[in-house]
Subunit: 334 residues, 2 copies
């Protein structure tokens, strides 16, 4: 025999709304009620039917998230933020990993379409025309997280140009003049917003009348390894650097690691500042100063925006979050 | 008009098998053929239909993976290993995040059942009876990764007891006698195989005639923060510790961080060894010595085992992988 939520509610002597809240861990009931409901659920071998829910309210209570990378700490922190919002609302989250690969991205968009989802978040993904065209066909709300687009898709992101300008200015204000940068990939504009970080770096130098030279920039692919090789290459070209601005914290972590192995003391001999303020920063030796782009707030805002779009047809506005320097121990005055 | 794989093959003047291999990035064709096929795909606006595939061969070419945690580096490295195997085979991967939460786990099992998957991997998850009962109903192959179970479900894992014994013996052989351990959660036996690491630690001390005292063990929840607080508590109780064995690398990273902030030099004043050998170990300052449980191989073996089960009814045997010490700079002779 298959039981329904009504059977559970009746047997536990509570309302169906209470059963639903317990199932979705939403609070608003006593510990005793929770135990009673969970006991009945176990006793009846009842599991809420997503398909039945889907038939009732035309929803599947499932959202999809496309991510380019699962070993990036920033991405996993985004996923935690999205899941926490979805969980409160009672929605499940399907995560698909595209590796920024065009055919794989299309394959996953199609998969999510087939599996039926209520909404979609694209994290740190450049919205190519083919994706946009497919998304339009999917007819579900879509929100871009940490990316923006000229297609009419709402986004929640930061101002990368200004954040990089702030990070570089911070080093300059600490008295540094010989500042190198390790950037992400020059060719692939991942998230569509990463070259602005290079421009922000250049503008800050220019505004403080510090001559800029292309040899002060090294390009990698946003990984820790790129920080390691990037520092070695930069120091080969420009041995008198006193500070490094890195395009993300993972590159910054690589710089700390390479400096340790080269016997270069941070911050005594070299100051390092990262970007994103991922949770690993504070555990580095020394703890890594970083430009925070409020990414926890960013993920939650993107998720809330998507659920708002699922629930109504109202217009939503894009959101650009503030940034701030989180001072730790990897930068010192020159 | 909707095009099929046959239309693409005809127009590109290749076989449908070649189109399929290009779509799944499986190699075995020239760069020229690949470009030609991709051009035709774009021209015809063709996307392979998973539903159509499902109707033909009764498969959905989708597998599910349940993970307890997305901020654990070990878990994201497992996911990368699984995805790499699935990608070669042409299968998509749906990732669901359970937080080791019973109701959430059941919800996601049901979701994956509804969405139709060909097979399921449960990573670092204790297989409770209710999960097992539901999995039996799902009628798809299931493999446990980094966990074992008394239920008849195949698993790929390591011998945690022996690995912890080896790690502790390594410290003893380096001359350490005052060795502390920071373990995971005492109450929740996550992955069902974590208390064995404590037993391995105790057995090594006993075999070398080093007296054991419960105050030498601190319990946390496998996070970096637990390494930070764990070291402080251990040193308060036992100030003359010269080495710490940590139950996973994240706890080990927390110990390095706390030691840095307390001004305790590693390895000069304190040796630290982690477990799992996640990719962050080599980037720590100092690089963290760790007991490798071959987790990349573990994830690939689990995925290959699951696809083997999907493709045939043959019996498969469980797999327990070897471990080895990866020597870096965080341990020195006493």
């Amino acid at each position: 025999m298959t039981y329904t939520i009504k059977d559970v509610a009746k047997k536990a002597n509570v309302s169906t709304a209470t059963v639903s809240r317990v199932l979705n861990d939403q609070g608003g009931y006593s510990e005793k009620t929770k135990r009673k409901v969970l006991n009945v659920i176990q006793e009846l071998d009842y599991y809420p039917s997503g398909i039945a829910r889907g038939l009732t309210n035309k929803r599947t209570d499932t959202i999809g998230v496309l991510v380019p990378n699962l070993t990036s700490s920033l991405i996993t922190e985004f996923l935690n933020g999205i899941e926490s919002v979805a969980h409160k609302i009672g929605s499940s989250v399907i995560v698909c990993h595209t590796e920024s690969h065009g055919i794989k991205t299309m394959k996953y968009l199609q998969l999510l379409h087939e599996k039926r989802i209520d909404g979609l978040i694209l994290a740190s993904t450049v919205l190519k025309k083919e994706y946009y065209d497919y998304i339009v066909k999917m007819r579900v709300p879509v929100v871009l997280l940490s990316a923006y687009s000229e297609f009419p898709v709402p986004y929640v992101t930061a101002n990368d140009y200004e954040a990089a300008y702030t990070g570089t200015s911070y080093l300059i204000q600490k008295g540094h003049k010989n500042i190198g940068m390790i950037s992400g990939n020059k060719e692939e504009r991942i998230a569509g917003n990463l070259i602005p970080r290079v421009e922000g770096f250049k503008s800050a130098l220019s505004d403080y009348n510090i001559p800029f030279n292309e040899s002060y920039i090294e390009y990698g692919k946003f990984s820790i390894d790129d920080g390691v090789t990037g520092l070695k290459r930069l120091l080969n070209r420009v041995p008198d650097l006193t500070a490094i601005f890195t395009e993300n914290d993972e590159i910054g972590m690589g710089v700390l690691s390479a400096a340790y192995n080269l016997g270069i003391k941070v911050p005594e001999k070299l100051s390092v500042i990262g970007m994103d303020d991922i949770s690993l920063c504070k555990f580095m030796s020394p703890p890594l100063t970083s430009v925070s782009l409020s990414h926890n707030e960013m993920a939650e805002k993107a998720a809330n925006l998507m659920f708002k779009l699922i629930n109504s047809d109202t217009e939503v506005s894009n959101c650009i979050l503030d940034h701030q320097i989180i001072e730790r121990l990897s930068v010192r005055s020159q």
